[in-house]
């Protein structure tokens, strides 16, 4: 059913035809975009899953080491040992454009690159378990940063895919059929007008002939 607001004129017909052309072109482009986004998204998801399980594993390991350390040492000593960190992390962020989605790319730099140099305490008063815990933690930290980046990318891409998918569907199931319907309605109406005016002309011709020559068909 065409929308009632439409007036069956040639001008509107041309407008509707142009709209249909644009809509089908947009539909095709958006569909391509959606497919490509989806492909990349699945890669990101796979990577995310792998990283997450690695991080969870690594953290569990580090925490269990830390638990042992806190059992061996008194809480005050433990707190004191790591109160003033030696290591600092410099984090820089750039935005990368992936299929029109701006995703953050983190670049980080640790103050001391040597992983053996991260301990902010002297070894005399602390237990070896704490050293293990901290080095396990610093090992998993790199993965954690990558996880942050990948997970954010995944979320942003999910949003973009959702948007694109809705647009594709709106074009495919609403916009394009509506345009086609309108075009059909207008062409029919115009043809109908043509026919009725033709009939009217013939009728008038008959009447004129009859008046002039007393001639009837």
């Amino acid at each position: 059913m065409p929308s009632t607001a439409i007036t069956p004129t040639r001008m509107v017909l041309n407008q509707q035809k142009a709209r249909l052309r644009t809509a089908s072109r947009g539909h095709k482009l958006l569909k391509d975009k959606r497919d490509e986004l989806m492909r990349q998204f699945m890669d990101v998801v796979r990577k995310n899953r792998e990283l997450r399980s690695r991080v969870e594993e690594g953290l569990t390991e580090a925490f269990s080491a830390l638990t042992v350390a806190s059992a061996v040492m008194s809480p005050e000593m433990l707190e004191q040992a790591i109160l003033y960190p030696r290591q600092t992390v410099r984090l820089d962020m750039n935005l990368k454009n992936v299929m029109s989605v701006n995703v953050p790319v983190f670049e980080f730099e640790t103050k001391t690159a040597d992983t053996g140099d991260i301990f902010p305490y002297g070894f005399a008063q602390t237990s070896g378990e704490l050293d293990d815990a901290l080095s396990a933690l610093s090992r998993v930290f790199e993965d954690m940063l990558e996880l942050a980046q990948v997970e954010k990318q995944m979320q942003l891409m999910a949003e973009e895919i959702e948007k694109t998918r809705r647009r594709v569907n709106a074009l495919e199931y609403v916009m394009i059929p509506q345009c086609e319907e309108n075009i059909k309605y207008i062409t029919m109406k115009l043809e109908e007008n043509d026919r009725s005016s033709k009939v009217r002309m013939m009728k008038v011709k008959d009447m004129v002939l009859e008046k002039a020559h007393n001639y009837s068909v």
Partner: protein, 104 residues
């Protein structure tokens, strides 16, 4: 320069202090919410906020606000008790959102 924050129970965040991250130990849900709000108040101050999984329940509303923005990245990490599965479910939710159904 951007910063990284870690929000969670004291025992969980303690280790990260040694790595040079900003740690925010919290004990209660109330406190966690308050701290999280404070961390996200200044735009772009923190690029990454790691949140302990056990606080996800009370923070989920706040966290969802930042899903569509480039910063900060709010990432769930397991606490001392080991993974609770919220991190995995976040992944599932993203897939569901993109694809329309859970295909994993």
């Amino acid at each position: 320069m951007l910063k990284i924050a870690v929000l969670g129970g004291r025992a969980t965040v303690m280790g990260f202090k040694a790595l040079g991250l900003d740690v925010y130990p919290v004990e209660t849900d109330e406190k966690a919410r308050e701290t999280f709000k404070r961390l996200t108040r200044n735009d772009d101050e923190y690029a990454i906020i790691y949140v302990e999984e056990s606080y996800y329940k009370c923070l989920s509303q706040e966290i969802d606000k930042f899903k569509d923005r480039p910063t900060p990245a709010v990432i769930l990490i397991p606490g001392r008790e080991g993974p609770l599965g919220f991190g995995q479910s976040a992944l599932k939710a993203a897939v569901e959102r993109a694809v329309g159904s859970d295909i994993l």
